[in-house]
């Protein structure tokens, strides 16, 4: 299988001195949905920001689809769609204007301008929002869930080599998170989009992800298919396994 993301010995020390990652190595294969789980402050967002070229690693390397994200960030960005943890949206743009801006920026960088119209249309559909909302209202008026749908929709519709979704369902209602999970699972899988996501919802991870990495205190502690991990710890569910792992190695984070 093709390796899409290769993270090696990743260390990140923030300017203030906080060590957020202490030598994380992992691989994500083409078409996979990879979930990163772990307590608050474990280093998930830090890892995603480094992969998405926003932060520079202190040590270690990240290669996405054959491109080193540190030495060639612009080339790497053509392959990665990143949806950060905190949902945002340009207040003064309508959802549709926003989607068009992002999609055309993304596609024109890799010379795929001719696809813009169809991808915008597709993304608009993936949001599940009505046209009256998408083109009639500015994003300043959108709820958090609506913004999140818009963000995830473009990130999948542009069919990047890698979509990074940091806590995509946090704060969404039951129905919206259900739909989003379906979207990630079905749409991404059928289009061959590789996804890295993080979540605090073990049920979600268990149902959506092909493989899971459990990170704590900047260290990757366990990795494998959800079913494998459940079996390994003789647990009832992934959540159960997660609790056992944390309990067996000390609850508090090593900071």
């Amino acid at each position: 299988m093709d390796v899409i993301v290769s993270v090696k010995e990743l260390v990140k020390t923030y300017p203030g001195g906080t060590v957020a990652l202490r030598g994380v190595s992992l691989k994500v294969y083409r078409g996979e949905v990879y979930g990163l789980v772990g307590p608050n402050g474990a280093g998930k967002t830090t890892a995603f920001r480094i992969i998405a070229t926003l932060l520079k690693p202190t040590r270690g390397s990240v290669v996405v689809d054959g491109v080193d994200v540190v030495s060639d960030p612009l080339e790497a960005r053509k392959r990665i769609a990143y949806v950060p943890e905190e949902v945002g949206g340009y207040r003064r743009l309508t959802g549709l204007e926003y989607i068009r801006f992002i999609v055309s920026s993304f596609l024109s960088a890799s010379g795929r301008e001719e696809l813009v119209d169809s991808v915008v249309e597709e993304a608009a559909e993936l949001t599940g929002l009505s046209m009256s909302v998408l083109s009639g209202k500015r994003m300043g008026e959108y709820s958090k869930g609506m913004k999140r749908r818009v963000q995830v929709a473009w990130a999948l519709a542009v069919k990047p080599r890698l979509a990074i979704l940091d806590e995509p369902t946090t704060g969404l209602d039951v129905e919206a998170s259900y739909e989003l999970r379906e979207l990630i699972r079905d749409y991404a899988r059928s289009r061959g989009v590789t996804v890295m996501l993080s979540s605090h919802n073990m049920f979600e991870v268990e149902t959506v992800c092909d493989r899971v990495g459990l990170i704590r205190g900047g260290v990757l502690m366990e990795e494998g298919r959800p079913a494998e991990i459940v079996e390994r710890f003789n647990a009832r569910s992934l959540e159960d396994a997660y609790m056992r792992i944390l309990a067996s190695r000390g609850r508090s984070s090593p900071q």
């Binding site: 520079k56 960030p73 960005r77 207040r91």
Partner: protein
């Protein structure tokens, strides 16, 4: 009280608020040297200190000659260098090294009339003194003449500056135009900096910066698109302000008439280029500073830092501007030198404007560099930590 405590903490823990508090002090105190120099030059002018005065007698009668020598020795006893010469050519005397030449023509005897022309050799480096001297000199003599119940005296003043002779009102009004051009540049600089910073602050406030930075867009394009948008809005603000002033100054447009008296299309073109280059420069600086703010408001108040130094050139003109290319090449100087081009020629203005464009590009390179670094993401956090560490050290 508890609520006030919370509100104050909210304000004081925002670094940009602290900055807005400190800024006025820094600005006003940085003007101290200029005001000091202004005051000193005015005092020097009042005492005619270090001034060589030539009392030049041109077609006067003997009685007047006697009177003038008496006045001359009176002044000399007061410590002023006075020489009495027979000549009608003021320029020649100025070139010989006199700073002030007073040419008397006619008779100072009671009931008669005379004309008194004061010529001052001016210098841009001591401009306040230059502008003060004519009235000081003519004031002195008018008083002496009045004490002796002398003739009606008609006084005119001229300033010899940079190889050209200006009547005093002419130079004064030219000087007014230069100041007006300098100050009206704030119409564009403030909104440009503030809009640029707002565009950065908005990215953070709307939680979009990380998305924007993760897109395959060159940092260069981000920098110049934001700057261009800010400058366009600033130009519209300027146009609106100008239109407003036009309405206020009335039908004829006083300002316009004056400007076209001193500035041809070449100078006005240079002025436009100077404005745009300076706007571009302050926008880039303001956006760089804005990277450290979390909100639009925070970024905008910090942007003021980028514009305030623009006050210094007009201040330094009043106090005394060294006429050198070294000074002309400094940032913020292009508008002033363009304004002065009727006096000093277009060379300085062109060089200054070209330098300002290069400086704008350097500022852009700085902004792009910071945008490429992870400070673009962690800027506000980094600033907060830095301030916290400083506070702890104290």
């Amino acid at each position: 009280m508890r609520l006030l405590g919370k509100e104050l903490r909210t304000l004081f823990r925002e670094p940009m608020v602290v900055l807005t508090i400190i800024m006025p002090f820094i600005v006003y105190s940085s003007m101290a040297p200029f005001y000091g120099s202004l005051a000193e030059q005015t005092r020097e002018a009042q005492r005619l200190e270090g001034v060589n005065v030539a009392l030049s007698l041109c077609r006067v009668d003997d009685a007047t000659r006697l009177l003038v020598s008496a006045m001359g020795s009176h002044l000399a006893s007061g410590g002023v260098n006075v020489t009495i010469v027979d000549s009608c050519s003021a320029l020649e005397l100025l070139r010989k090294g006199y700073n002030v030449v007073l040419v008397l023509n006619g008779s100072l005897m009671p009931g008669r009339s005379a004309s008194m022309a004061v010529y001052v050799k001016g210098s841009l480096g001591r401009f306040a003194k230059t502008l003060a001297l004519p009235s000081v000199v003519s004031g002195h003599f008018s008083r002496l003449i009045a004490e002796r119940q002398g003739a009606r005296v008609n006084t005119t003043s001229y300033i010899y500056l940079n190889g050209r002779l200006y009547s005093f009102p002419e130079l004064n009004s030219l000087f007014g135009s230069v100041m007006m051009l300098s100050y009206s540049s704030f119409f564009i600089l403030f909104p440009a900096a503030s809009m640029g910073a707002a565009l950065i602050g908005a990215e953070r406030e709307e939680r979009m910066f990380e998305v924007l930075l993760s897109l395959p867009i060159r940092r260069r394009s981000i920098a110049f698109s934001k700057a261009a948008a800010a400058v366009i809005v600033a130009l519209l603000t300027t146009a609106s302000a100008m239109a407003g002033i036009y309405v206020v100054t009335g039908h004829a447009g006083i300002m316009e008439l004056k400007l076209s008296r001193y500035y041809g299309p070449g100078e006005l073109g240079l002025y436009a280029a100077a404005l745009v280059s300076e706007a571009l420069f302050v926008v880039m600086l303001a956006m760089t500073v804005g990277l450290f703010a979390t909100t639009i408001r925070g970024a905008q108040s910090a942007a003021v830092i980028a514009v305030l130094p623009a006050i210094i050139p007009p201040m330094s003109l009043m106090a005394g501007l060294p006429l050198s290319y070294k000074t002309a090449l400094l940032p913020y100087m292009a508008i002033l030198y363009t304004g002065l081009s009727p006096i000093i020629g277009r060379g300085y203005a062109a060089a200054s404007t070209a330098a300002q464009f290069i400086e704008a590009l350097a500022a852009a390179a700085l902004f792009i560099k910071v945008l490429e670094s992870e400070t673009a993401v962690t800027g506000p956090e980094t600033l907060r930590r830095l301030l916290a560490r400083l506070r702890r050290r104290r």
